[in-house]
């Protein structure tokens, strides 16, 4: 891609992936505390641990995106 009018390169895709995963992870964790219809294996709290995992991976990808952008 070309540089923008300020002469900067675009952010790496990993930054966007990381932010989306992290934000969605937080929303999934919040959802695990919202009362809803009964689901199979609800007692294993899938929203809580899967959402947490998404936040961790989101953080890793966001960091990779920022670091690779700074390196140019």
């Amino acid at each position: 891609m070309s540089q923008n009018d300020e002469g900067r390169e675009p952010l790496a895709i990993w930054f966007f992936v990381g932010v989306i995963l992290a934000v969605y992870g937080v929303l999934v964790i919040i959802g695990s505390f919202v009362p809803g219809r009964p689901t199979v294996l609800a007692e294993t709290r899938p929203g809580l641990w899967w959402g947490s995992l998404m936040v961790v991976f989101g953080g890793i990808f966001t960091t990779i995106g920022i670091v690779s952008h700074r390196k140019g």
Partner: protein, 559 residues
């Protein structure tokens, strides 16, 4: 059946996806200035970015829903479409064909046909590819609206117009790079939103061994039942599988379909371009762990009335159960608030990325291989970017038109399913001869390609209108009563054989191009790729060997 109800948080997750992809498009707009930026993603991508986009351009929601449902019918055989019908072709593309594609700095696959052969072969392929992508994009749109109408109760028109508008918006803004960014986001959303279904399904049964236990032997083996077509649910022998799926259809799609190959063209250098399909092959190998495992879990649940898991009637044939609904129904079974929104967003992203891939490939082929080649040969780079943006909007509108056509005439779906073997299967023969036999002539390529396309279409119409009796069917497909899948495989084999034979024969009697004209386009006329100075872990050959060993091991384990 009752539709799936979404909570406010689920809606928030879906709306956030639209905000994110349009935001990415707006952000990338500032960096999209030249033709290379708009159509080739700037040619600066790493093999990781290009590889994930390469895979995701093919990884639509249709595939995921279809193969999860397909597992309920064909069992482990579905894995053939990944481990036999994709990985070997992807490795071949990376190792042997990419140097010719990438080094010639073309914008498209038809562009290679122009350099290697002539304008008429390019135009034949460009026009057929443009029509195919628009049809596929429209069908994708229609099926998305159908799935969301039946399962979620969403209005047909709103589903189609909102998703098409979002796609048109972000591709018009950022071109191929927008498509690549959203494809990679889609890849992660699919794993985040759907892999958990397989995990929870296995947890419910107490382990993968318990899921497999009690399934018919035809569902749990890959090769053991392929000695006789009557012994497996797909009704195909190992020869039909290897030749039809493993060779012609697979190589025809993965090595020549510009929709996927375009992603490799966006790589920063030849080594990254070669690594693109090889990197993608590892992720392709992993996909059966979503679709096949989820399909087997759904099968076991359907077989157990006490589970409460029921499939709805198929909207196109209410006398049958709708296997493709299995995955969304697993979402309802296992996912609480929030995860439901994530699962639906993953499917939505999958549908939209499929359309976006078609639209971005269409705008490139139209702009470079039809508009610039025929209509305006002196067009400037700036003008071509403008044409690409206008073409994106027109392509999206034509896709919507195709979707409405499919809604009115359901039979159009039959034609779409066969379209790959009309176009890609013969094209693979043209490419193979063109890249590896310097004697192949322009006349041979054109008439061979045309003959292969006609042969494939004729066989399709013969079966479609019952003109092929059992005797002829036995000759054409090695089965007197072939299944649709078997017909498709053999139709592709015949298209490839006819194209190969006609191209070969005509080339023997016509004048080939000179050696000087073939430099960089044909094996033997192209400088050998030197990987000597690259560390072992950076070499395409090393990773292709690892991928091959892993895929052979998977086939052996599930033999």
């Amino acid at each position: 059946m009752a539709t799936i109800e979404l909570a406010g948080l689920d809606w928030a997750i879906i709306v956030l996806y639209f905000v994110a992809i349009i935001g990415i498009g707006l952000y990338l707009r500032k960096f999209t200035k030249t033709g290379d930026d708009f159509f080739m993603g700037g040619r600066k991508n790493s093999s990781w970015v290009a590889g994930l986009a390469f895979l995701s351009a093919n990884l639509g929601a249709l595939e995921i829903l279809g193969w999860t449902g397909g597992t309920m019918k064909y069992g482990m055989f579905v894995s053939h479409f990944y481990w036999l019908g994709a990985v070997p072709a992807m490795l071949f593309l990376g190792l042997y064909m990419m140097p010719f594609y990438y080094s010639s700095k073309i914008h498209s696959v038809p562009g290679y046909l122009k350099l290697r052969f002539d304008e008429r072969t390019r135009l034949l392929n460009a026009v057929s590819f443009a029509v195919m992508t628009l049809l596929m994009s429209g069908i994708n749109l229609y099926l998305m609206a159908l799935v969301f109408k039946v399962l979620l109760g969403w209005d047909w028109h709103v589903s189609m117009w909102v998703s098409a508008a979002a796609i048109g918006c972000y591709i018009t803004l950022g071109g191929l790079m927008s498509a690549i960014f959203t494809e990679i986001v889609q890849f992660f959303l699919i794993w985040a939103g759907l892999f958990l279904l397989s995990i929870l399904g296995v947890m419910e049964f107490g382990g993968i061994g318990n899921v497999m236990q009690g399934l018919p032997s035809t569902m749990t083996s890959l090769w053991a039942t392929t000695g006789d077509a009557g012994s497996n649910a797909m009704g195909v022998t190992w020869l039909g599988l290897v030749m039809g799926l493993g060779f012609v259809m697979s190589f025809g799609y993965w090595t020549t379909d510009f929709l996927v190959v375009q992603r490799a063209f966006s790589s920063k250098d030849l080594r990254s371009a070669r690594l693109t399909p090889i990197t993608a092959s590892f992720f392709k190998m992993a996909l059966p762990f979503i679709v096949v495992v989820a399909g087997m879990v759904a099968y076991k649940l359907v077989m157990d009335p006490a589970s409460g898991f029921k499939l709805p009637p198929d909207p196109s044939d209410p006398s049958k159960l709708w296997n493709d609904a299995a995955l969304p129904l697993l979402i309802v079974r296992y996912y609480p608030v929030g995860l439901v929104g994530l699962g639906i967003t993953a499917l939505l992203a999958g549908f939209m990325a499929g359309q976006a891939g078609n639209v971005s490939a269409f705008n490139t082929v139209w702009t470079y291989d039809i508009y610039k080649a025929v209509i305006n040969k002196k067009a400037t780079d700036e003008h071509l970017v403008w044409v690409g943006r206008v073409t994106t909007v027109v392509g999206v509108l034509l896709s919507i038109g195709t979707a409405y056509l499919a809604m009115q005439f359901n039979t159009i779906m039959d034609y779409i399913q066969a379209i790959f073997s009309w176009i890609n299967a013969p094209l693979f023969a043209t490419m193979l001869l063109g890249m590896f036999w310097k004697r192949t002539t322009s006349a041979g390529a054109f008439w061979g390609l045309l003959a292969g396309m006609i042969a494939s279409f004729a066989i399709f119409m013969g079966f479609r209108f019952n003109l092929v009796g059992p005797d002829l069917a036995s000759v054409l497909t090695l089965s007197a009563a072939p299944s649709d899948m078997t017909r498709n495989l053999w139709q592709a084999i015949w298209a490839w054989l006819v194209c190969f034979g006609v191209t070969f024969l005509i080339s023997l009697f016509t004048t080939p191009k000179t050696d000087a004209e073939l430099v960089g386009l044909v094996k033997g006329m192209t400088p050998k790729v030197d990987e000597g100075k690259v560390w072992l872990l950076g070499r395409p050959g090393f990773w292709a060997a690892v991928a091959l060993i892993v895929v052979i091991a998977l086939n052996a384990y599930f033999w």
